[in-house]
Amino acid sequence: MNVTATLLGQMITFSLLVIFIKEYLWGPLIQVLEDRKKRIADGLAAAERGHHERELGKKRALEIIREARDAATQMIEQAQARTRDIIEDSEDEARSAAERLITAARAEINMEMSRAKEQLRSQVITLAIAGAERILRKEVDAKDHEQMLTHLAANL
């Protein structure tokens, strides 16, 4: 085959094609590919971080639940202790009140006894005087022997 001007024609077509591709296709498309690669890398990194965050979140949640449970248990214990204290206090109070009543009662009994003793004493004095009067068939002068008789009564 001989060389004809077709060669020049084809070279011109080729040059125009290359120039067009270089100016209008290459730059933007390479940029798009780079951007997309970066977006994919960022997306994967964000997904990794998201995973990590989720793990941490789960751990935190478990911790919070545990703390809550501990606090609840503590509060229950405190309430129970308070109950016990209240019961003890009221028992003590009851006991001391009973003691006071008993003491008061005893004091009253003693007082009654003393009063009774006093009454008896005076009656005994009267009886003793009457007896002595009868025994002696004389009228005893109460006033002379009062001192001796009070002394007798005091010894009762």
Binding site: T4, L7, M11
Partner: protein
């Protein structure tokens, strides 16, 4: 040229083949233009330009559409090839050049898949005698590509190495300065063989492929589908591979032109 279009192909195989291999020409002597080659080449280049325009005017940043996806695939493939092959930093022309070569050669080669009689018959109905569709089976196309590439390597060689160093290379490589005539001879042979082989490899493959299709077309219609099928499937590989090889060799020659040689003498 004998106009044998209405005769059955099996009647006169030689004429049939010769008719199909003759390009549509206009002009005389050096100024003959193979119009079919030029028109098909230009149309396919326009197709590429149109696709490039449509894809690049508003590129989708997120998930791309199908066309953009395919174009991106090829662009990324070419860019990877360039960056892997180059030892120095490639000039910004190399990527687009390699892309254009690959896609344009692939499209032109693919014209071979049309049934051999289809387009010539259609053009005949409009009064045109011949129409060879496969532009790369015209050596003018392959030589145009190869010569363009070699002009570029020449320019890059001069640009990167300097005029003196470049021509000194002819005298010094590969044997050393005492075998100067040998060096000159070997380097000249290499420098001529490279563009020649680049062009002829593609031309030979495409021309032979077309010829085989024509030979298959001569067979009777009820047997030709077997070899036709086999050859078509094989030709898919050949078409893609030849485009790829042309592109890879271009990138390689350009990368060698970018190299600044170490001072080792």
């Amino acid at each position: 040229m004998i106009h044998a279009s209405n005769a059955p192909a099996t009647a006169d195989p030689t004429t049939y083949i010769q008719h199909h291999l003759h390009p549509l020409q206009a002009g005389q002597g050096f100024w003959t233009f193979n119009l079919d080659t030029l028109i098909v080449g230009a149309l396919l280049a326009l197709l590429l330009i149109w696709i490039a325009y449509v894809v690049a005017r508003r590129p989708e940043q997120g998930v791309p559409g199908t066309l953009q996806n395919i174009v991106e695939l090829i662009v990324e493939f070419v860019e990877t090839q360039v960056n892997d092959t180059f030892l120095t930093r490639p000039s910004p022309l190399v990527g687009p050049l390699a892309f254009s070569i690959f896609t344009w050669v692939f499209l032109m080669n693919s014209m071979d898949f049309f049934p051999v009689d289809l387009i010539p018959k259609l053009t005949e109905m409009s009064g045109i005698d011949h129409f060879k569709v496969v532009a790369t089976s015209d050596p003018h196309t392959t030589f145009a590509l190869s010569l363009s590439v070699f002009l570029l390597t020449f320019f890059y060689n001069i640009k990167m190495k300097g005029v003196g160093n470049y021509f000194k290379g002819y005298l010094i490589h590969p044997f050393g300065k005492w075998l100067l005539p040998f060096n000159l001879f070997m380097t000249l042979v290499e420098e001529i063989a490279k563009p020649l082989s680049l062009a002829l490899r593609l031309f030979g493959n495409m021309f032979a492929g077309e010829l085989v299709f024509l030979l298959i077309a001569i067979l009777p219609w009820w047997t030709l589908w077997i070899p036709g099928l086999v050859w078509s499937i094989f030709h898919v590989l050949v078409v893609t591979l030849q485009a790829f090889i042309f592109m890879v060799l271009t990138i390689m020659y350009l990368s060698m032109a970018h190299e600044v040689p170490q001072e080792d003498h």
